[in-house]
């Protein structure tokens, strides 16, 4: 039976573990503008990244955007997921496909659409100015708000589908029993549905949080040149700065922060779930 894992396992070792090990080695090297990198075993790249206020700020922005988007996706996704899960009509599979629909378009193409909508000469500004509501274009694009909107639109389907799968497993009788015992809808939701749906909340949030932490195309295209998140910063070091050691160190810092927060977050939520 163990042999069944072999093909996938080999693939992961070849395509993920080996390159990561190489990247870890590179992160300990020293950058040289003339020789690209010099073999070394130094932690200075990590030290520099941790100390530099610029990268602290970039990490802070990334965390803020990721947490904000996760909370927003949860708040928007839960009602939709509940509705989808409790749907009994023959349109259910169509509704599921509709939820999936945004994923059929790539991130870059989707961002291009947002740009056409939010730009200075975009549809929204044209409509506002055409109606005489605003005199000049509102700065809708190239800021954090545009990035959050763009990312939430990307991650929402993941959240909805993960939640819906779990909510479907909650017996409707549990809700009916609670209501029968005098629970108001909000109480039923808070004391019955939410605790039972918590594994879905944890799974959906973890999935979405990881996607947000590593977002690349959306922050680059909608955030503009002055808005920086970690993934674009890593790319910048590798590709524009040719500083592979520092880029590798940044990548591992992003990985570590994401991993720690994911583990801590899901453990805390999991404990609440057991307590409930």
């Amino acid at each position: 039976m163990a042999a069944l894992v072999l093909p996938a396992g080999l693939l992961v070792v070849m395509l993920l573990v080996a390159p990561m090990a190489l990247l870890a080695r590179i992160s300990l090297n020293r950058f040289s503008p003339t020789e690209l990198m010099v073999e070394a075993t130094t932690a200075e790249n990590y030290w520099r990244a941790v100390q530099d206020p610029y990268y602290q700020q970039v990490l802070g922005t990334t965390l803020g955007v990721a947490l904000g988007c996760t909370v927003l996706a949860l708040a928007l996704g839960f009602p939709a997921a509940y509705w989808l899960a409790r749907m009994e009509s023959r349109w259910k599979s169509l509704a599921t496909i509709l939820v999936l629909f945004p994923l059929l378009v790539g991130n870059v193409v989707r961002s291009a659409g947002w740009m056409a909508l939010l730009g200075n000469e975009g549809a929204i500004n044209a409509a506002l100015m055409g109606a005489g509501i605003t005199g000049g274009p509102l700065p809708l694009l190239y800021n954090g708000g545009a990035v959050v909107v763009g990312i939430v639109a990307v991650v929402l389907p993941y959240m909805i589908l993960t939640l819906a799968a779990v909510i479907e497993g909650i017996p409707r009788q549990a809700e009916e029993a609670a209501a029968n015992l005098g629970g108001r809808p909000m109480t039923v939701f808070r004391r019955v549905v939410l605790p039972l749906a918590l594994p879905g909340v944890v799974a959906g949030s973890v999935l979405v949080f990881i996607l947000c932490m590593n977002a690349y195309a959306t922050p680059v295209l909608l955030g503009g040149p002055q808005f920086k998140m970690m993934a674009p910063a890593v790319y910048d070091q590798f590709v524009r700065g040719n500083n592979w050691p520092f880029g590798a160190a940044l990548a591992f810092i992003l990985l570590a922060v994401t991993l720690v927060l994911t583990v801590v977050g899901s453990t805390l939520l999991g404990r609440r779930y057991r307590a409930a």
């Binding site: 503008p33 690209l36 610029y54 002055q226 910048d236 590709v239 700065g241 040719n242 500083n243």
Partner: protein
Amino acid sequence: MTTTRRAALTGSAAALASLTAGLPGLARAQSKQVVVGTWGGDYGELLRQNIDQPLVVPQGIEVLQDIAVADPRKTKLLAERQARRGTYDIACLSDTDMHMVAAQNVFEPLEMGKLKRGSAILPALAKPYAVPHIYSALVLLYNPSKVTTPPTGFADMWDPKYRGRVGFSDILYSTNTFSAAMAGGGSFSDYEPAKKKLMEMRSLDARIYPSNEALAGALKSEEVWLTPMWLARGFMWQKAGIPVKHVVPKEGAYAIVFEAAIPKNSRNKDNAYTYLDAMLQPSAQAAFADRMGYLPTVKDAPLPAAIAQQISLSEAEQERLRAPDYDYLLKSHSEILDFWNKQFKA
């Protein structure tokens, strides 16, 4: 999409061909190929129309374009430099990028004996590791209806009456830093004064756009009135109805040369030389001048008078142009990028 039986057969034949591609002397020996790492857009299209199709394909060589902006292709060249077999047979890059990559020993020193058109190259543009393909000059573009007194140099961008009207293309960070250095009394080998000038420009509400195309949009909507840019871009934008004129800054500026080189680990070196020769053909050179406004790099390319008038530089203007200090840029590149990202843009 429906898959016809013929398409499926072609597909499996292609799969077979790619399987055998690794076996020397089998499939590859029969097909002559050259892989060109290039920008897409107009540049890639003009290569296809004026070099690949009319000049290279008739010689029985199949041309494959590997399209990306410069940075990822640079990274690929550097990452593959130890490999026995590289992706590219031809690498197209700007002179500064080319020098940076060449410093890592990536390129084959050109054998002039194999380059039939070698003697036609303008001597000032010749390099041991790359052929010049097209060139243009760094200029200051301005909107003549808004900037009514024509500017004379980079320093005019700091005039407070243009607050919020100076735009920069983010990808030209090094060039923008150069313009600030020159405005602040720096030189080709000293960008230090740029730091103070850029911070002043920041407090003058300079606008930064993610790409040249986004900047073009801002010039068109007259959101931006002044920007440092290549003359050839200005020519293209003017043709597209964007209201810009240009001046070669009095402080001095550099020429930008787009070059092509053969990586040491190219698998089709002979075909690559054929390709370089084609790039230097007068007809191909004239086409790039006509469509994109870049100047020919060979002595014998005919230029229609109307275009020559728009994109050529007077002697006085040419005197203000020099080659960048490549070694300085190689050493200072990461510092320039860091300052641009962390201080100016932050």
